[in-house]
Symmetry: C2
DNA sequence: GCAAAAGTGTTAATCTTACACCCATGC
DNA sequence: GCATGGGTGTAAGATTAACACTTTTGC
C-alpha cells in the first residue's frame, strides 16, 4: 500500500496520454417517402474524397460527452427536441487518418418536416439507409451497428413518434415500423400489439382528402414526449 | 463547397482538442460463495481515500480501445481468455478529479479459481455486488449499468460458463443465474429452458462426494468457448 | 360501381408459469 | 431411516402468428 497521490500528481504523470481526441458521431435517422433515411455529409478529407460520412464533431474540452451529440444535432438540423441514444464507442488506432480519434456513436430520430428543421450546409443530405455502400472512416460499421440497435429498440420503446407529424394514422405508423425493421407486418396484429402498449391517444378525427376510406387519427401520448435528455446511463427508453 | 483539406491540416487545426484522456473501466464479475462478486481496488487518490474503484487504465496512444480492457484484465488477473462486452461510455466533465477523462465501461466474467488467475496487487479484492454502497468516481453508476446489461445478456447468450469449472452440475449453473439475476428460479423450468438452447454437453458423469443424490455433470459446448475477441461492434454474443 | 385502403376477430401454435412426487446418496 | 438435494411432467394461461371479409371514401 503506497503513498496516496493527489489528483494533480496523477494528472502530471499521465500527461502523455492526453493525446487522443474524442468525438461523437450521430446517425440521424429520418423517414421520408416511405423509407428510412440517414443524414450524411460529403467528407471534406482528401483521403475520403467522394465519400459521405456521418455528422460528428470533436467533444469540446468543457462539454459533457452526452451534450456533444445534442450540439451536433442542433448545429446540423436546428433541432433540439430529439430522441438520442448512445450505441457504442469505436476506437481502433487507424480509424481516423488525422490522428488518434475515438468516437462514441449515437443514433437519433428526427422529423425533417418539423418547422425548426433546416440543413445549414450544402454538402449535407439525406440518403436511403438501404442502398448505402461505402462511407468514410468506419462509418458504415457505425451505421450498421446503430441500425441494429434501433431495430432492437423500436418495438419495445416508444421512440418513433419524432418521425411523424403531430397527428397520424395507424397506417403511417405501420409504414414507419416496416421501413425501420425492413419487413412487412400484419396489419391486424400490428394494431393489437400497439394498442396494448397504450402509447396512443385516439383523436376522434379522421384523415381528409384521401382517395379511400379515411383512417382515424392518433397522437402520441403526451407523457411519451420526454425525448432524450434523461441521463443516458439510465435506460431512457423506459422513461414512459 | 470549400477546399478539401488533408488529414494533416485537420489535425493541426484541432490540436487543442487533443486534451481529453480516454480510459477503460472493467467491471470484472466473478462468482464465489454463491454470490456475484466484483473486483475492486482501493482508490489511490486522496479525493477518494477509503473508497474502492473499478479496475481501469488509460488507453495507450497506440492501443486499440478494445484492446485496453483485455490488457487491464491480463494485468490485474492474469487472465486472457475471458468474455468481455462493451457497455457504455461515460464522459461528464467533472467525473474525474485529475482532469478530463472519458471512460468506456466493459464487463467481464472471470473464474477466480482458474489456474491462471492471480491478483498482483494487495489493494485489489473481491466484493459482493449486493451490499456495495459508494465507490470512487462515478463507478457505482458504471457498475449498476454493467450489472443491468449483464442481466439482460445472460438468459439470451451463453456467457456464464467462464464462471464455472470445466465440469458442473445444473444446480451449480442455476445458482449462478440466481446470483446474477438476483431472483430465484424454478428448477424444472430452468432446466427445460436451458436444454432447449443446446449450450450443454452431457458428460455422462456424476458428482462425487456430495451428501445427497449426485447430479449429472455437464460442460459447455466447445463451440461456445469463443470468448471475447470477436470485434465488439459485431454482437459477439451471437457467435455460437 | 370500382379502386384503394380501413377496420375488425378467431383459431392454432407456441411459450411461460406454476406446481409435487419419487429417487439416490451420505451419514 | 433420515436428511439433502436430484430428477422429472402436466395443465392453465398468456402470447404470437396466420388469415379474409366488410366498410368507407374519391373518382
Amino acid at each position: 500500500m503506497g503513498q496516496l497521490k493527489t489528483a494533480a500528481t496523477e494528472r502530471r504523470s499521465h500527461q502523455d496520454f492526453f493525446n487522443i481526441a474524442v468525438s461523437v458521431d450521430c446517425v440521424i435517422f429520418s423517414y421520408q417517402d416511405k423509407a428510412l433515411k440517414v443524414l450524411l455529409i460529403k467528407s471534406d478529407l482528401k483521403e475520403f474524397e467522394g465519400l459521405y460520412s456521418l455528422l460528428g464533431d470533436l467533444v469540446g474540452p468543457d462539454e459533457d460527452l452526452e451534450e456533444a451529440p445534442y450540439r451536433v444535432l442542433q448545429e446540423r438540423t436546428g433541432l433540439h427536441d430529439v430522441y438520442l441514444e448512445q450505441v457504442h464507442t469505436f476506437g481502433n488506432i487507424g480509424r481516423h487518418p488525422s490522428g488518434r480519434v475515438i468516437t462514441t456513436a449515437y443514433f437519433s430520430l428526427v422529423n425533417s418536416k418539423s418547422s425548426n428543421f433546416q440543413i445549414t450546409h450544402d454538402d449535407v443530405s439525406w440518403h436511403p439507409v438501404n442502398s448505402l455502400k461505402k462511407l468514410a472512416f468506419d462509418h458504415k460499421i457505425i451505421l450498421d451497428t446503430c441500425l441494429k440497435q434501433l431495430r432492437d429498440a423500436v418495438m419495445e420503446h416508444p421512440i418513433v413518434f419524432n418521425l411523424l407529424p403531430e397527428k397520424f394514422s395507424l397506417r403511417e405508423l405501420q409504414d414507419i415500423y416496416e421501413a425501420i425493421l425492413g419487413i412487412e407486418l400484419d396489419r391486424r396484429n400490428f394494431r393489437k400489439r400497439l394498442m396494448v402498449k397504450d402509447w396512443l391517444v385516439d383523436l376522434a378525427e379522421m384523415e381528409e382528402d384521401v382517395p379511400h376510406r379515411p383512417g382515424k387519427l392518433y397522437k402520441a401520448r403526451p407523457s411519451l414526449k420526454k425525448n432524450g435528455r434523461a441521463p443516458l446511463h439510465i435506460d431512457q427508453r423506459l422513461v414512459v
